[in-house]
Symmetry: C2
Subunit: 341 residues, 2 copies
DNA sequence: GTCATGATGTAAAACGTTTTTGCTAAGCTA
DNA sequence: TAGCTTAGCAAAAACGTTTTACATCATGAC
């Protein structure tokens, strides 16, 4: 099988009767070559089926043309969409995307970070966990443009882009209050995550702006098991509320499911609102009122920062979310006397 | 910033007072060096913070240590899980995963295939679309170990791994029939996809084995919009069935939603079954009866084939799915006289 | 006629590894 | 003592590009 070795640039050069450098220039167009020569080289390259070796190019150019993304769980529907949009964004720049899913394991997180470093990634997108090693990230960020997305790493001074979680939480509270709800419970997300904390705190603060208190509060991981458990828990513990604000759509859907099973109808007896606007929010029954994160813009901004790589002080980009009102939130039947008790 | 250039192996060699080759050998352990020398090299490398450049290593070793995965839509929950499991599997081999999401666009599919080829991937996993270019894939497969997953490309003679769609469909039919259903409709997936076709044909055949005919049949893309539309359509067109077998969980969930909105209760008036067992199947209300694909094993087998790369005739691996009975399927109220008409 | 200039091309260096080959000294056999 | 193996290390080739530094020649300005 010696004959089907891939042709290299020297094969092309030989066949075209010119030097390697001329071949390179003819192919890349970085320097002028005589049109006739150029045509000949191109033709020969085509005939031979020459394809430049990107690895060799990377070595000399010091550009791997690869960006890496590190995240705790790609099956989280928000992250899935984000990955898709990032991939689309970097692809238009001729870059590839290498993914690292740590599964919330800090050891694997460290391994991926090291791997990204060794592979000389051109940029890194990091969706941190609570355990993300600030020191390691900061060290790597000195050599590789790095932007942290969605959640903060405490102490991080580099680029950061995220949706305005606070604003989203406020929209949700305002929406429910305007519908007439006064007893609102909160099933917040993992309090170890800055995004979940921000939503939780903002919800609470906005409630108090309206002169209200959380009717009940609970926290949950963003996993299906825990979501179901905590949803059941909050419905059991306190029953005198007419609406639930969930930390994300997964939690909201869990609340809906558990409520139904308990004979509480949504939205009749209980309004439920989520966060993220994952694809299933629209499909679910009832369709979920939620806050839509501008995922595509987050992806676009993140890759933009990556490629511009100012090097100056950390830039913070906060993107505005949008309230999507669907069927899971309605006015309470009788605010003073909820039906499901 | 000249001082924080990354140290190379020659820096280490100089600092340790040995040759480059000795340094390389001491580091990699591929050839014996005197223990004392080895220790010195290791110590110096550590002090300097030396990290080998994987790109250079790739160039000489002709191994990119990267595998690529090409798929039509990563936001499809089945594929998301698959990607996660593949990533985990290749990571244990020290390999990275580069993703390509074609968004069902054949032009982008071709571009990705070319990019994977140029980057000298060590292996390729392909989840094809109806438009996947057999010629291109076959050509690339001559140089890069390639395995096609989940759906067939007609004419493909290489490695292939998939769940046994036929068996899954049969389980579903048997399950519904054993519950007492005799009028079963089918909302099949995209008929351009071999997997969806296989499920559809097997469902039909098994029904006929039981002496039954499809009460209604319809096809849908695996997108939310079309799913909703086709679900509504099939419920409108014919109402004399007591169960629906959907092409996947997304479609099943769409049927559930549309049915509820139309005042048809699931599973009271209508049983619904899906396929894939995506995470939401369990969370939904009612929890979805479905066929669980052995995603993790599919991922494991696919990467195994990739790395073993027999080179012989194409190997076919068919993995057995599992019936997961949940709440969305029950015995029909009155088989002869469905309640929802 | 000389000299700068621009167009075109080549040779060689560089990128950072791994691997092959060669060299030296020491140990062993006969 | 000659010959042979082996351990340990070094030198250099190789991987396939891009880029830099020259070389050549024609052109036009003065």
């Amino acid at each position: 099988m010696a004959e089907n070795k891939r042709p290299t640039i020297v094969d092309v050069a030989k066949a075209a009767g010119v030097s390697i450098s001329t071949t390179s220039n003819a192919l890349s167009g970085v320097r002028r070559v005589r049109p006739e020569t150029r045509r000949r080289v191109l033709k020969v390259a085509d005939q031979l089926g020459y394809e430049p070796n990107l690895i060799a190019r990377s070595l000399v150019g010091k550009r791997s043309s690869l960006v890496g993304i590190l995240m705790p769980d790609i099956t989280d529907n928000f992250l899935t969409t984000f990955v898709r949009d990032v991939e689309r964004a970097v692809a238009t720049q001729g870059l590839g995307l290498m993914i690292g899913d740590s599964g919330n394991d800090s050891q694997r997180e460290e391994r991926y970070l090291r791997a990204f470093h060794d592979r000389r990634m051109e940029g890194l997108l990091i969706i941190p966990t609570a355990a993300t090693d600030l020191g390691q990230v900061t060290a790597i960020a000195k050599e590789i443009p790095t932007v942290v997305v969605d959640r903060e790493i405490s102490g991080w001074t580099g680029d950061f882009v995220s949706c305005d979680h606070r604003a989203g939480a406020e929209m949700l509270v305002d929406h429910l209050v305007s519908l007439g709800h006064t007893r609102i419970a909160q099933l917040a997300g993992d309090k170890a995550l800055s995004s979940a904390r921000a939503r939780h705190a903002a919800t609470r603060a906005r409630l108090s702006d309206h002169g209200l208190l959380s009717a009940a509060e609970s926290f949950s991981q963003f996993t299906i098991e825990d979501a179901k458990e905590q949803a059941a828990e909050i419905l059991r513990r306190a029953a005198d509320f007419t609406a639930v604000i969930a930390g994300d759509d997964l939690l909201a859907l869990a609340v809906v499911g558990v409520a139904h099973r308990a004979g509480i109808s949504v939205p009749g007896d209980l309004s439920v609102a989520g966060f993220d606007d994952i694809p299933f929010a629209e499909l679910a029954w009832p369709a979920l009122t939620t806050i839509r994160q501008p995922v595509e813009r987050i992806a676009a901004e993140a890759t933009r920062l990556l490629l511009e790589s100012a090097g100056g002080p950390g830039r913070h980009v906060l993107l505005q979310p949008e309230l999507i009102v669907r069927d899971s939130t309605v006015a309470p039947r009788d605010p003073a006397n909820p039906a499901h008790t």
